[in-house]
Amino acid sequence: MKKLINSPDSVIADALRGMAAAHPSLAVDLENRVVSRAGGVMAGKVGLVSGGGSGHEPLHGGYVGYGMLDAAAPGEVYTSPVPDQILAATKAADHGSGVLHIVKNYTGDVLNFRMAAELAEDEDIRVVSVVTNDDAAVEDSTYTAGRRGVGGTVFVEKLAGAAAEEGADLDTVAALATRVNEATRSFAIALHAGTVPAAGKPGFDLAENEVELGVGIHGEPGRERGTMQPVHDLVGYALDVIHADRPIAGDQLVMLNGQGGTPLIELYGAFAEAVAWIEGHGGTVARSLVGNYITSLDQQGFSITVMSLDDELLRLWDAPVSTPALRWGR
């Protein structure tokens, strides 16, 4: 697989240079690999930090800005960032009222963020971590690593970001983030695996009539291999799994997300199926996102993330946001 890169080693550094040049609203620390807001922030605002492996763009750097994150720490492709880097992001995000770490549930992310939090506390920055784990494809159990954090992370960043912007304190923002995570479920299906630059070939091979059901965001195989179906059936499968795990009822926030290599025209078609399914089950799609919001490089496929809305969550979703990847209301 050809990649539009200089070398696998320079992918992150090159991309960060590009982000810095493309977005004057971002401050990009190329040395520490931290993306933070260039503009001023209301003193006393709770800081929001996220991060994780790269390859999921626009997550997380594209969500730094008013109403969402204060800083992001991008690791190597599909590899969590290191503690010092997360510490640097935490310092960049600290406005005196503590910092929320939004961590996707992967052993590497959890451990590196935990170490960074310890380092931050040594420097008298209070850190609370919220671990997202919205992937309904994975059996949850206390004996395992548990569920993965996937698309729901975007919702957590948006809604917690809005609460922080409104002046909520660290514990309130953390409690909200937890509530959002709990109200959210995702499921993903891949048609063709993405290619990590260092690997140079797709993470798994699928025949013309095969799909991977229940994939994560790291090009890993899913929970089972299935047969290629019309998008109506694939979307139905995904929503059936989510619905069985946490019933879909009432007003929903729905993200129909592309994995990086699927045309937008197909994502709109998939979204039409999702809306039909949800309305057919008595729910309502009150708000939505359709596009590439949490990707797996050039993987082909989609994920659906569904959250039950209440008045507070709806208000926070509609609150102004101004980041490279999500922008409305200002």
């Binding site: 492996g53 690791g75 190597e76 492709v77 599909y78 590899t79 969590s80 960032p81 290191v82 503690p83 010092d84 992967y106 052993t107 590497g108 451990l111 590196n112 935990r114 170490m115 992937d135 494809a137 994975v138 059996e139 004996y143 395992t144 690593a145 993965r148 990590v196 260092a198 690997a199 993470g203 798994f204 994560g216 790291h218 090009g219 890993e220 195989p221 899913g222 929970r223 089972e224």
Partner: protein, 209 residues
């Protein structure tokens, strides 16, 4: 032979070399049941370990391992960075400021590494992780010392046990790390972390031979 600064440094050097030589294999194992970066992670981490040792010029074998561990944590990322990094750091601390650690002390250091990994990652034996290589290796190392073996023979016993432990991960279903997301599909593959661990303990056996 005793475990001194030279031996400790030689161990990390040999580990870096063997991991680099096996980078594609480790990545392949991780691609099958994980995300395909374990080879790159370990290569990057052990290179950082060597760089940090070169920079810190540690005076004791304990400090060599602490420097290695710090270098790994600082540059690796992923699950293996904190796990291996903390393991080396704790192993180093367990050696105290001995300039020549005995086989028994090295056994304690390996035990400290195992404890650190279990504490941090929460994995037990049988969860299909590097613990499945390290736990039997520590036991074999201690047993060899108890049986009157020296550092060299105990290290060989540890490396053998780690390799057997690696082979024993094949039929297991993963319960920790990324491979756990595959559920039953994780069965039938070697665990990448157990594979890198076996390489690193074989490197110990070689530098102490």
């Amino acid at each position: 032979m005793a475990f001194d600064v030279q031996t400790a440094t030689a161990w990390i050097t040999a580990s870096e070399a063997v991991v680099k030589a096996n980078e594609a294999r480790l990545t392949g194992l991780d691609a099958a049941i994980g995300d395909g970066d374990h080879g790159a992670n370990m290569a990057r981490g052990l290179a950082a370990a060597l760089a940090n040792i070169a920079e810190k010029e540690p005076a004791t074998p304990g400090d060599v391992l602490v420097a290695a561990g710090r270098g790994i944590v600082a540059k690796t990322g992923g699950a293996s960075g904190p796990l291996y990094g903390t393991a080396f750091r704790r192993a180093g601390k367990a050696l105290g400021d001995a300039t020549e650690a005995t086989a028994e002390q090295v056994g304690d250091a390996l035990e400290a590494a195992l404890t650190a990994i279990k504490e941090l990652g929460g994995a037990a034996e049988g969860d299909k992780t590097m613990v499945d290589g390290l736990a039997p290796a520590v036991a074999a190392f201690r047993q060899a010392v108890a049986d009157g073996g020296d550092l060299a023979s105990a290290s060989v016993a540890a490396a053998d046990a780690a390799e057997a432990g690696l082979a024993a991960t094949v039929p297991l279903q993963a319960r920790k790390g990324r491979a756990s997301y595959l559920g039953a599909r994780s069965v039938g593959h070697e665990d990448p972390g157990a594979a890198s661990l076996a390489l690193i303990l074989r490197a110990l056996a070689e530098v102490t031979a």
